[in-house]
């Protein structure tokens, strides 16, 4: 009812009430007077009024109307206006609208009340705005810190993994990812994504007891009041790699006695260092102990030879010992030095640097210190050097400036080429002849830059690199050059996946998820866990055909992980599978996988164990999951792994959410949800679309009261489609 109508009704009611009251009052008064009258008087009054009753009623009605008219403003003033004010105030109280309460036309105290309400509401709004602003500021700050941290982590050359107390990974950097790839049993298949990933357990890599022991010793140190307690352990992984881990605690707050919330692991793969150190130890031991015996023999023989009583035959026998031992020692030394030349390591810390980067930096540096044109000749772009770049750049620019100052050289070029296990960096010039002695004397003089003298000479710099340096003439080209032999970085690329080229990565935001700090490991069945909290492996397979029972096989598996409601694209799994049978033409048109693409790929019995490890501790999600699961199950005997994970099907869940839609094909659902479809009909492409669709389904299911995994499975089973069986 509208306000106006209500008022009219109220006014009418008020008038009726007033009329009824007046009538009652008149009746009461009349009856009272009537009772005091004598019979004659009553007859006289009846006679007097009898004919004028209509007039009396008219007067009474007029009186009533006047009373009603007088009552209405009063009613408005004392009932209607406060009621309106109350309603307005209630709106203000229960919603966020900003509006002024008005009590226009109300009595002065009521208007005062409205003003007070308005004032309170304004204060409330200001307070809200203030808070919102502060929250926004704080979350901006947190966001900034997070991305700073993520950026920092991704640039670190050390592997870092942060875990909560349950050992779940909250954060890791790209370096760690590459390191775990090297640890993987199936590096080519799962790429280490089965070992490291957000929400995954670190205990798949490290022994739980080992980590617990390290945590315990940290806690003990904390109790003793250590400021920065950390623990270290070395462990051998399944693949035989030696890992050194340094563990530092993460506390819930900065308070001294704050409980532990998790830990940071900094990992070094020390397999290579360890092997190198042991090799060096062996060399050293071989040298000392081997030589001791020989020297003992030599010394004894020589001392016997001093004996004047020794006859000629005996003397010859002892001389033979001496000769023999001397030869043996020479041979030993030669062997050792041949084995160790490649391994002579300078103690100076050298950094890995792309050769081409070094050359570019050197040219800039040379141009900056002397007036000379610069350029490059052959530069091998694939060479990675191990250098002290600062000192090396100093040496190169120093040499260039002496060439310019003393021999008026106007142009120098740099050349970088591989040379039997090392790199040769040449500083080349052409111009007047100079003596070898002159230029080589520069090698040992302290380097000077204007008035500044460096404590180092070029020779010192070369020694730091365990390298060599010389001067050479190229008479054919009328050129001369200085050549530096420099060490190469440890087998870049192939053997060591941790080279910097691989570390360069454009995106980095998916490596962390601090929300997992809050997730605590509840051990009760997954069925009771909310859908939004679970980790999922969303996957899809491409197959030779649609009948697994009739010999059709998987030819591709693609999968992505969903953790804490986030799609982790960087932790994807994608693998072609050799089905060891022909590919029907009909299928090729759909998935585009040609026979030559799968030939020589790993077979299903190798791929499934890797996929199984990848899907560990997660719920499997697929579109029309029954189909894919059937293929996995039929391969169980061959692969030796059983996929007994909980399974959710987006097709069924879509039918639960939208029972009246005709189509529950993946494209149709994706379109309904506005999910962009790219790379459809590659296993990974479909898996990602399925994952995005699944993410949209979760809140819709929640709106229907389906929150947990168990509820979702039950609802899915009840849909019509659940009756469809492959």
């Amino acid at each position: 009812m509208k306000q106006g109508q209500r008022l009219v009704v109220a006014a009418a009611l008020a008038a009726a009430c007033a009329a009824a009251l007046l009538a009652l009052f008149a009746l009461g008064g009349g009856t009272l007077v009537w009772s005091t009258l004598s019979d004659q008087e009553r007859a006289a009054v009846t006679e007097l009024l009898g004919d004028r009753v209509a007039l009396l009623v008219m007067v009474a009605l007029g009186l009533v109307a006047a009373a009603a008219a007088a009552a209405q403003p009063l009613y408005r003033l004392w009932f209607a206006a406060p009621a309106q004010l109350l309603e307005q105030a209630q709106v203000l109280l229960s919603t966020d609208v900003q509006r002024e309460l008005s009590a226009a036309g109300a009595a002065a105290p009521l208007q005062g009340l409205a003003r007070a309400f308005n004032e309170l509401a304004q204060r409330r709004d200001r307070l809200r705005q203030d808070m919102a602003q502060q929250v926004a500021l704080a979350s901006r700050g947190i966001e900034r810190e997070r991305s700073r941290l993520a950026a920092l982590m991704s640039e670190l050359t050390q592997s870092v993994v942060v875990c909560n107390l349950d050992g779940r990974v909250l954060l890791y950097n790209n370096r760690a990812r590459l390191q775990f790839k090297a640890l993987s049993d199936a590096p080519a298949l799962a790429g280490g994504a089965e070992l490291i990933g957000l929400g995954r357990s670190i205990y798949t890599v490290f022994d739980r007891q080992l980590v617990a022991h390290a945590l315990e010793s940290i806690q003990q140190r904390l109790q003793r009041g250590a400021a920065t307690p950390s623990a270290q352990f070395v462990t051998v992984t399944k693949s035989g790699q030696l890992l050194r881990a340094q563990m530092a605690p993460v506390r819930d707050s900065e308070a001294v006695d704050a409980p532990l919330g998790g830990f940071v692991l900094m990992l070094d793969n020390i397999t290579r260092d360890y092997e190198r150190d042991s090799a060096q130890d062996q060399l050293l031991q071989g040298l000392t102990e081997g030589s001791r015996a020989s020297l003992g023999n030599l010394q004894a023989a020589v001392e016997v030879l001093d004996d004047p009583d020794l006859d000629a035959t005996a003397r010859e026998r002892f001389l033979a010992v001496v000769r023999d031992e001397a030869r043996a020692m020479a041979r030993r030394i030669q062997d050792l030095s041949a084995r160790s030349t490649q391994d002579v390591k300078t103690r100076w810390p050298l950094e890995d640097m792309l050769g081409a980067d070094l050359v570019a930096a050197a040219l800039r540096r040379i141009e900056a210190v002397c007036p000379v044109r610069t350029g490059t000749q052959e530069v091998d772009g694939a060479l990675w050097l191990k250098v002290d770049s600062f000192a090396l750049l100093q040496a190169l620019s120093y040499l260039a400036s002496r060439l310019v100052d003393e021999f008026e050289v106007r142009a120098v070029t740099l050349r970088l080429q591989p040379a039997s296990g090392r790199a040769q960096l040449d500083l080349i010039w052409s111009g007047q002849a100079m003596s070898t002695e002159t230029v080589m004397s520069w090698e040992s003089e302290p380097m000077r830059f204007g008035a500044e003298a460096s404590p180092l000479s070029v020779r010192d710099v070369m020694q730091r690199h365990g390298g060599e340096f010389w001067f050479e003439r190229d008479r054919v080209r009328h050129q001369a050059f200085f050549r530096c032999l420099l060490p190469l970085a440890d087998a870049a690329g192939d053997a060591d996946p941790l080279n910097a080229a691989a570390v360069r990565h454009d995106s980095r935001p998916e490596y962390y998820d601090f929300d997992l700090f809050r997730a605590s490991e509840s051990q009760h069945a997954l069925d009771d866990r909310p859908l939004a909290e679970l980790s999922y492996t969303v996957f899809d397979t491409e197959t030779t055909g649609l009948e697994p029972a009739a010999g059709d096989e998987i030819i591709q598996i693609g999968a992505a992980r969903l953790v804490n409601g986030k799609l982790l694209r960087q932790e994807a799994f994608e693998q072609l599978v050799d089905p060891q049978r022909s590919l029907p033409e009909a299928g090729i048109a759909i998935h585009g996988i040609q026979p030559e693409m799968v030939r020589g790929q790993p077979t299903i019995d190798r791929v499934l164990p890797a996929f199984h490890a990848y899907a560990r501790d997660t719920v499997l999600v697929a579109h029309n999951a029954a189909f894919d699961m059937r293929f996995l199950q039929l391969a169980e005997a061959r692969s030796g792994v059983v996929f007994d994970h909980p399974v959710l099907d987006t097709l069924l869940l879509s039918a639960v959410v939208h029972p009246n839609q005709e189509s529950h094909r993946l494209e149709a659902i994706a379109e309904r949800f506005g999910v962009t479809v790219i790379g459809r009909h590659t296993a990974l492409g479909d898996a990602i679309v399925t994952a995005e669709v699944f993410l949209k389904l979760i809140p819709l299911l929640a709106a229907m009261g389906i929150h947990t995994l168990g509820q979702a499975r039950e609802a899915a089973q009840q849909t019509y489609y659940a009756r469809l069986r492959y």
Partner: protein
């Protein structure tokens, strides 16, 4: 009475010098080229002292020493261990398994003969 000495070493180049030196000192000298042979010869000739190399094929010097200390007939034999292992842990092990003295290669022959003389002159092992 001339003392009887056994030299056990697998390296002919040291054996020849040791044999010459000990003979020059006037001892009766026997040689063995590995650990087992050393024990066999000792059973036969019962030497007063054995110059025992640590690194021998078959039984090492440590093992020979332990074996003879456990043998009623041989346990009084004096043992001078010779080794190319120079670490103090090896010395400790040698003395631990019952060697009377320990010399690290290379050593001076004078030192060696003096040591042998001293050992033989000392009161016999209990």
């Amino acid at each position: 009475m001339t003392s009887c000495i056994l030299i056990a070493d697998d390296e002919p180049n040291i054996l020849i010098s040791l044999e010459y030196l000990m003979k020059r000192e006037g001892y009766e000298v026997h040689v063995a080229r590995d650990g087992q042979e050393a024990l066999d010869v000792m059973q036969r000739v019962r030497p007063q002292l054995v110059l025992l190399d640590v690194m021998m094929p078959g039984k090492t010097g440590f093992e020979v020493c332990q074996a003879l200390r456990g043998d009623e007939a041989l346990k009084g034999t004096l043992v001078l261990m010779l080794t190319a292992k120079g670490r103090d842990t090896d010395v400790a092990r040698g003395l631990g398994v019952g060697a009377d003295a320990y010399m690290t290669k290379p050593f001076s022959t004078q030192e060696l003969t003096r040591k042998v003389r001293e050992l033989l002159a000392a009161p016999p092992r209990p």
